[in-house]
Symmetry: D2
Subunit: 284 residues, 4 copies
């Protein structure tokens, strides 16, 4: 018995839920999870569905073809379909900060993340020893403004070589090129160390301290060309007070960054996120 | 165009979602909200559905009869159906504490609660002036162990007179009789001032203080015969520290009690809660 | 036996804590609360102290004079001293939104706020009936750009007449004049319905919805001439998701506004806040 | 210039704060942090103080002797004094769960914890490879009811050999012997996977699921002879709903366990906790 996950979005239309659920019944499928959302302003329908197929007659390719022909085309759907055994391949981009890297690799080693990490790419050599501890290939790819074409090319070659599905910037401190963003559209996740849209850009903890906020935050989002302006996946916050220094903000922030990035990675890897209109639908 | 809300639970069965959504399509209904849940252990299916009926051919009675005949009976469903203009009637039971009462009446007056409050019933006369401020009928019904038959009878008469749909115990400090619980099964909401199941019964803040907890809580639940053991609707918490006295716990707790009770009332009045197996399904 | 609260800030200096605590010992005082903070960047010392005076020889005026002569002048302190029975007088400014008003008046009536509310001032007549329910004088003071001198004058006269110590803008929708801000420096509290500094200005829930945030917030702050830029007293947040509409944001936000404003009022009335460098020190 | 941390508790007495702060001034110390608490019910005074000594005339031993003679004895204080360069030595006890272990070792390697981890002790061999990744000595010490004397002896020998200051049970699944508890009184930290005192003992997530709670929690506490009854250091919670299975509770709980244990370890290692009357004072 096979389990598949289907993500759909399309124009909202009459009887669309009935049509999808009828289709699943028609292939002898048992729905074990269904969530849907209608963006009333934009008139867009979103659905996430998990079902078990009671027969073994299908493989992923044949069920995809059948779904397309018998349902997707009719409703002009944008859609994706996955089997549970397809673990996405994630590349980690890092620079010098190691706390998110340790957290992700710890969770990965503890079996909490439904994904594979074939490669870590960095613009510095500092964290090679961390990668070695977890026996994950580490590639040093220098990247500065002056050599961004060379850097981008090396990145893309590695990503292709390791058949990477999505990229996580675990406190990677360099710009991602427009070409790379386009190649991995809605598949690059960044962690920003503020409660966006407050304090985008550099040194957000310093700005938060200066403003005298009583709560700090972290935000994970898909990377778009606008700096820190991509669709938000997850956010969380922590209380601070006058008694906390900037160093305290940074230390408390590390915990937020870890948690918020780990949750975003998990949601993405479990195919629970959809992007539309620079916002996310997160079926969690 | 009419809006209806349907709540369903029944044994989980093949094609049940398709059957319901087909039914809605068959009566020319447009689903604007659908959420469902399967309790895999108990094999029970739950659904909440809101839809707009495009025609005016139905009134509530006729659509109910049609739904029963064409869908509910076939799947042996327990079900309820409401139109949006049916505001439930809520009775407030109070004793001497006024903070939850002020909060509920303030929200009610500010138009935040989709319900009517035809009556406040109390075993003390203290809060009559609060009821008067908000122009709500107040009935003093003495209640002690010795006169519980008389008290219960008076309560039931008032509830019948005001055609009450559900009861909220806003820090009401007396036992509810089994007969009243049975009459209003899953329709009496209590607020308990602890994070249940920790600290049931009397003086939970004192017990929490003694145990040295770092977080206190409040719990709203449906009333059953077991004291503080009914299905939990909503909970929330607040941080405390060694620097807080019992009085501080009580003061912080008042805010929790207000919020948690207000949320439970709203969820219930919006028909977003279902009870099964001493637990709630809350479609929020 | 008398209880006094002392707030101090001054340049950080050697032995300052010892000097203050020695002083309290010298007047036979028993310290029951002491909290202090040093802003290392600015080299400023802050202290809040509560003590019981074991003798009845002092009244507030004489102890103030003694404190000034024997301690405050030597360290060049900015300081305030209060007795517990001095309840500050608070004016409420409102427009048309009633949820914060109901909440504050409910808490006030329930005895939770250590202050007096002698007057409610509004630029609309809508909420007069709410004031009447709680038997609080209500004054309608029209205020628009065109008549701001007249409006300001009427406001100042009322504030003087009622001997107001501080002002709370409970969703008051008009600009406060620079003159009024100067007169009540660090004594006007506003509630802004966003997680500042994100979304200052008008319609923050709409902006938050458009940005696709996963958390919304509210911020209470002292009013300064820069719009929504004053020292932050308290903030809180609530989770939202793609399934929430702007109306849901607004409804959830009302709870945040109520809570965050009520906490700020309480902190201010209990003399637990100090302002320095556009930030607050909150000894809670 | 040397930084020292002093922890004091004693009977509450007149002028005690003045006496301590005068003492610090007398040795030419500059107080950079002071927090104090009075347990009014028990009449106990607690203080935590950090100061910089402007001269180099003291070493830890001489300042301790001087403090004892000139202050501590007079007030009959229980007290501790530390220099910042004294990192406490922590032993990790583990069984088969690896998520807390990865988290602690990740934080340790990232330089977030002011302590040393000379040894990991386990009653199973499973996690030896994790210890190896982080190059920390791992000792397999079998422990069951039948061989508890042998096990305890081996544990104590290792703890002595590695000069261990405190022990952290990172989901260690065996009883700690009374002898070990006595030897490391208030120096053994456990993480329990529920919001104590709700659901002590085995399988708390299963019990929480059965009860239908809307919030789950985790609790770190010092180990005493009563199972899960020791002084609570830190707690935190996460929201759950009807849609979460027991497996979801467990997965969400892992994050709570990690965070709550990491915070407790940090507080303890920074000497910010004091124990009295089965409760903690946490100066954070």
């Amino acid at each position: 018995m096979q389990k598949i996950t289907i993500l759909i979005h399309c124009e909202d239309q009459k009887s669309i839920i009935a049509s999808v659920t009828n289709y699943i019944a028609s292939i002898d499928g048992n729905i074990i999870y269904l969530d849907q959302h209608v963006d009333a302003d934009e008139n867009v329908f979103f659905m996430r569905l998990e079902c078990e197929l009671r027969t073994d007659q299908w493989n992923l390719e044949s069920i995809k073809a059948h779904f397309k022909m018998n349902l997707a085309t009719k409703f002009n759907m944008a859609w994706e379909m996955y089997t549970l055994d397809q673990k996405p391949k994630m590349a980690l981009f890092v620079s010098k900060y190691d706390h998110c890297l340790y957290d992700i690799l710890g969770r990965y080693s503890a079996g909490e993340l439904p994904l594979e990490i074939p490669v870590i790419i960095s613009n510095h050599e500092d964290l090679e020893s961390v990668a070695a501890r977890f026996s994950i290939p580490f590639h040093y790819v220098p990247f500065t403004k002056d050599i961004k074409e060379i850097g981008e090319k090396a990145q893309l070659q590695l990503l292709e070589h390791y058949q990477i599905d999505f990229i996580v910037l675990a406190r990677y401190m360099q710009i991602i090129t427009p070409n790379l963003i386009a190649t991995y559209k809605n598949n690059i996740i960044n962690i920003h160390h503020s409660f966006l849209p407050a304090f985008p850009g550099a040194k957000p903890y310093h700005s938060a301290f200066k403003r005298g906020v009583k709560i700090i935050g972290a935000t994970s989002h898909y990377v778009t060309e606008g700096l820190d302006e991509g669709p938000i996946i997850e956010q969380d916050i922590a209380r601070v007070s006058h008694s906390h220094s900037i160093e305290d903000f940074i230390m408390k922030g590390r915990d937020l960054e870890r948690m918020v990035l780990a949750r975003a990675i998990k949601l993405h890897a479990e195919r629970k996120t959809m992007v539309y209109n620079n916002k996310t639908v997160v079926f969690s």
